[in-house]
């Protein structure tokens, strides 16, 4: 949830980003026209699309913009869809953590909690004992892989993946195989 109005956020973004390479005032205005939530892509990547195309690789909430700008010295404004669906879980986490992963669920970029506390908060209470037990017993070197599985279980990604895995087990082909040495699709 944005605690500031869009106009206030826009003014802050303009002040922070200023002369950053690739920055476009017109671009930001368009984001608000489309009722998108402001986010920031902290990288040397190009700005995201103006018309709802694929989202950039690493989206962070506007709340992370200030420290990110201080750390990297440059920010490029991109866009994230207005918080809804799986994102509401993140809103429910309160101040537990803002660290997130990104994946795509049914074609939409979706943020996932990426801390133990954040994932636990996103799980139903009934799953807390099993989560605590597994995390407590997992070797540190495997912890991130186990956490990803639990984090994905808080979204529809788990069901989407189960369907794909079931098809693959039946011997179906999913996607078009390519030689990785020849590049990716």
């Amino acid at each position: 949830m944005l605690a500031m109005s869009s106009v206030e956020v826009l003014l802050e973004l303009e002040e922070i980003i200023g002369e950053a390479e690739g920055f476009s005032h017109h671009y930001i205005v368009n984001l608000f026209d489309f009722e998108w939530e402001v986010a920031a892509l902290v990288s040397t990547a190009q700005p995201g699309p103006q018309d709802g195309g694929p989202l950039p690789a690493r989206v962070v909430s506007w709340r992370e913009l200030l420290p990110a700008a201080a750390r990297t010295g440059s920010c490029i404004v991109a866009a994230g869809r207005t918080v809804s669906g799986g994102h509401s879980r993140e809103a429910g986490m309160g101040d537990i953590s803002t660290a997130t992963w990104t994946t795509h669920v049914h074609g939409e970029a979706t943020r996932l909690p990426a801390t133990i506390d954040g994932i636990r908060a996103a799980l139903p209470d009934s799953q807390h004992p099993a989560f605590d037990l597994e995390i407590g017993r997992t070797p540190a070197e495997d912890l991130h892989l186990v956490l990803v599985r639990w984090s994905l279980s808080t979204t529809e990604a788990a069901d989407e993946d189960s369907d794909v895995i079931a098809r693959l087990r039946r011997g179906e082909q999913v996607g078009r195989p390519v030689d990785p040495e020849a590049g990716v699709a």
């Binding site: 892989l145 990604a157 993946d161 895995i165 082909q173």
Partner: protein
């Protein structure tokens, strides 16, 4: 010779195409390594021996290995 070919399920392909150039290049290099040994590379079993999770460059991948006669790794999901 890589050993295995790599395919992308729709969700993984969407994440792949959303990567910036440098992230995608890092992914591609790591995916080529994975293709040589999908059962190793620090991967963890997720359900059955062919359904696995591992770190692939800048991301974590969930994938399925289809063996003899197919020799394909299908990346089911990318998280980063």
């Amino acid at each position: 010779m890589s050993g295995y070919r790599i395919a992308y399920a729709p969700a993984a392909e969407a994440s792949l195409h959303a990567m910036d150039v440098s992230t995608r290049e890092a992914w591609s290099k790591a995916a080529a390594v994975l293709a040589r040994d999908p059962y190793g590379a620090g991967s963890a079993v997720q359900g059955d021996p062919d359904h696995r999770t591992t770190v692939v460059g800048p991301a974590i991948a969930v994938y399925y290995v289809s063996g003899p006669g197919v020799m394909t790794i299908t990346v089911v999901r990318i998280v980063h």
